[in-house]
Amino acid sequence: MPEAGEHAHPTVGTYLRVAAILVILTVLEVGVFYVPAFHVVLVPTLLALSAVKFALVVLFYMHLRMDSRFFSFLFGGPFLLAVVVLVALLFLFFGHFTLRGAAGGGGAGG
């Protein structure tokens, strides 16, 4: 019995197309890693590629694109919290060139 808020799942064709994109992106990731020309922008490129892969799996294989938006909230809320905590911790731990550095610079200027 289909319940309100839960919609049909993607077709096998969609699943296969998503898999193809995931494989291409993985090949790109490893490729970018080995091409020296990319090393200037390696980190942002890799982060962007893995974010796309992450989103594809979550949206299509875990059906969040079609499923109730409440599930997106149950997953997305804690996920964002984890990201914010991670970024905050990195700021706190690498303070010598971010938080404390900025404050120190201000002190020297004043």
């Binding site: 804690p78 919290l81 905590v85 911790l89 700021f91 706190l92 731990f93 303070g95 938080l99 404390r100 900025a102 404050a103």
Partner: protein
């Protein structure tokens, strides 16, 4: 299974009401143990150079007092009400996952027993009794907890016990989130949920997000202690600050896990005994949600003395002062609820009003730590001990006692004695202020916390004596409460469905409720279904007997079996026996598989 009795029926129960009672009695027993530990601490500190206990025993006492009160008394006492009251308030027959609920309880019980077994387990580790209980503080700061500095099994008990208890809280968290969202009676929209249920929901979201963080911190500690890793070892380039950050990332949401349920209880008790709807229901709910969110953004205020740098200090100072705003909003709403109401001075109301007053004091001293320069003077002194006891005793415990006096007739069918109740309240109220108010001064005069004694020339001897007398008074008050509970079993006046004239659904059904709760699931048309409001007449009570037989799920052995695997696994780590680890995993897997394939209609 309806009306079944005997030990077996309690061991296998999946009825949220029975599990609620189990939570209550177990948590109350741990509350008494934690209280006894507190009395020993106060006896030691009654006079300068006290000799009641030695330094090592003292370390174990304050560690176990804190750990017991937070994880084994306050959280599970709140859980007793989540279990018993939330399904009734939303008009449900049980929680969403009754067996998972039983599992949570058994894991909690076994985890609590595991932790407290450390008091007597000394001989097993070739040490004296009273030698191997956890002794590194309830916060277990690294790197004091490393094997190098804590070679005995003391910290192992603490670390493994907390991990077991975390499983219980997480399982209950998922269960109650789904219960509250999905099992509401027809018409029970989110903004018609009783405030206690709302605060329970916020609390469970905090539980499921905060507990993984301490789990990870404890796993690191476990690897350091058992497998020679270096997560908190400075010589290897690590920083013990990692522990502090992870612990307080959990620890500060945990503070709200402890206080939000009590705030919810007070928000139920005040309207009932003022005969007035809660003032600004929507604002109270939203400020509770806001507290839940903001509770994640203040953790570093526990760490100002670390030297985080001016920007981090300023940010966390500002967020900490900001979080006082939604809390203050709630306080004004509660006062406005009382204002102009038809007030009945029951014991429950006494505790609820006591909560407001004590929580204001605790909240204000809390704001004083929000300022880093002031905090540097207060950190690690008795001033902080005064603050946490005003919020956790004057706040959480008062709220929980308000809940006990309010819902005990519903849970047992008998009214607690009001005379003994008032005596209990006044003794507790005077006792707690005598015990904890002087600690503000003791702390500001420079007495550090967690030190087993002090010199007479510090000038805090008489204040400490007053504090000890206050603690004794709290002990006497608790005895009065125990007598009240005991007496009520046989002598309490039988409670009708609704002894107080409450507005919420739990008062529409018998006290105690039948196993199926509601003979007919009610349809809710307003936020105060049992009161006459401008647009709605009171909801008629469900009929005394169900029109058709109601299916009640039977019990199950598998939740307690699966739960048993966890302490066995912990014991394996504690005693370094690999076969015990396999046994623990085998028991758990066996329990889970039998559970998964057991026919169980809900």
């Amino acid at each position: 299974m309806t009306g079944s009795r005997g030990l077996r029926s309690w061991l296998t129960t999946t009825d949220h009401k029975r599990i609620g009672l189990l939570y209550f009695y177990t948590a109350f027993a741990f509350f008494l143990v934690g209280g006894l530990e507190a009395l020993l601490i106060r006896a030691q500190l009654a006079r300068p150079n006290g000799t009641v206990v030695g330094a090592e025993t003292y370390n174990q006492l304050f560690t176990m007092h804190g750990t017991t009160m937070v994880f084994l008394a306050l959280m599970p006492l709140s859980a007793a009400f989540f279990n018993y009251i939330v399904p009734l308030q939303i008009g449900a027959r049980d929680v969403a996952f009754p067996r998972l609920n039983a599992f949570s309880y058994w894991v909690f019980l076994l985890g609590g027993l595991f932790l407290n077994a450390s008091w007597i387990a000394g001989p097993v580790f070739r040490a004296g009794v009273l030698n191997v209980a956890p002794d590194a503080g309830w916060f277990g700061y690294a790197n004091l907890t490393e094997r190098q500095y804590s070679p005995g099994p003391n910290v192992d008990f603490w670390m493994l016990g907390l991990q077991i208890l975390g499983v219980s809280s997480l399982a209950a968290g998922f269960n109650f989130i789904v219960t509250i969202l999905n099992l509401r009676a027809p018409g029970m929209k989110m903004m018609r949920l009783p405030t206690f249920t709302w605060m329970t929901l916020v609390t469970q979201f905090l539980v499921i997000t905060a507990f993984p963080v301490i789990t990870v911190a404890l796993v690191f500690l476990m690897f350091d202690r058992f497998f020679g890793a270096h997560f908190y070892v400075p010589q290897a380039g690590a920083t013990p600050l990692l522990w502090q950050h992870l612990f307080w990332l959990f620890g500060h949401p945990e503070v709200y896990i402890l206080i939000l349920p009590a705030m919810g209880i007070v928000s139920e008790v005040l309207p009932t005994f003022s005969r007035k709807p809660l003032f600004g229901y929507t604002v109270v709910v939203y400020s509770g949600v806001l507290i839940g969110f903001m509770g994640w953004g203040v953790w570093s205020h526990h760490m100002f003395s670390v030297g985080l740098g001016p920007i981090a200090d300023s940010v966390f100072s500002a967020t900490t002062m900001l979080i006082a705003v939604p809390t203050g909003v709630k306080i004004f709403n509660w006062i406005a609820t009382l204002w102009g109401g038809t007030i009945r001075g029951t014991t429950a109301l006494h505790f609820a009003v006591g909560f407001i007053a004590m929580f204001i004091i605790g909240g204000l001293s809390g704001v004083t730590h929000a300022s880093p320069p002031a905090d540097l003077q207060q950190t690690d002194t008795y001033y902080v001990v005064a603050h946490i006891h005003y919020v956790l005793f004057g706040g959480t415990i008062f709220g929980l006692f308000a809940g006990i006096y309010y819902w005990w007739p519903k849970m047992t069918g008998r009214l607690l004695s009001e005379a003994l109740g008032k005596l209990h309240f006044w003794l507790t109220f005077i006792g707690m202020n005598l015990a904890f108010f002087p600690m503000h001064l003791i702390g500001l005069l420079g007495m550090p916390r967690r030190i087993y004694t002090y010199a007479p020339d510090l000038g805090v001897s008489s204040l400490n004596l007053v504090s000890t007398i206050g603690a004794l008074l709290i002990g006497v008050a608790t005895l009065v409460f125990v007598v009240n509970l005991w007496r009520t079993r046989s002598h309490g006046a039988p409670a009708p469905n609704d002894p107080w004239g409450g507005a919420t659904l739990e008062w529409a059904i018998p006290s105690p409720p039948p196993p199926y709760n509601f003979s007919v699931i009610p349809t809710v048309a307003s936020r105060l279904p049992r009161w006459k409001t401008e647009h709605h007449d009171p909801m008629p009570d469900p009929p005394a007997a169900p029109p058709a037989p109601v299916h009640v799920p039977g019990g199950s052995w598998w939740p307690p079996v699966a739960a048993l695997g966890l302490p066995v696994l912990a014991l394996a780590l504690l005693t370094h026996h690999l076969w015990l680890a396999f046994l623990g995993v085998a028991i758990m897997l066996y329990g889970i598989y039998r559970w998964a394939f057991e026919p169980f209609e809900i």
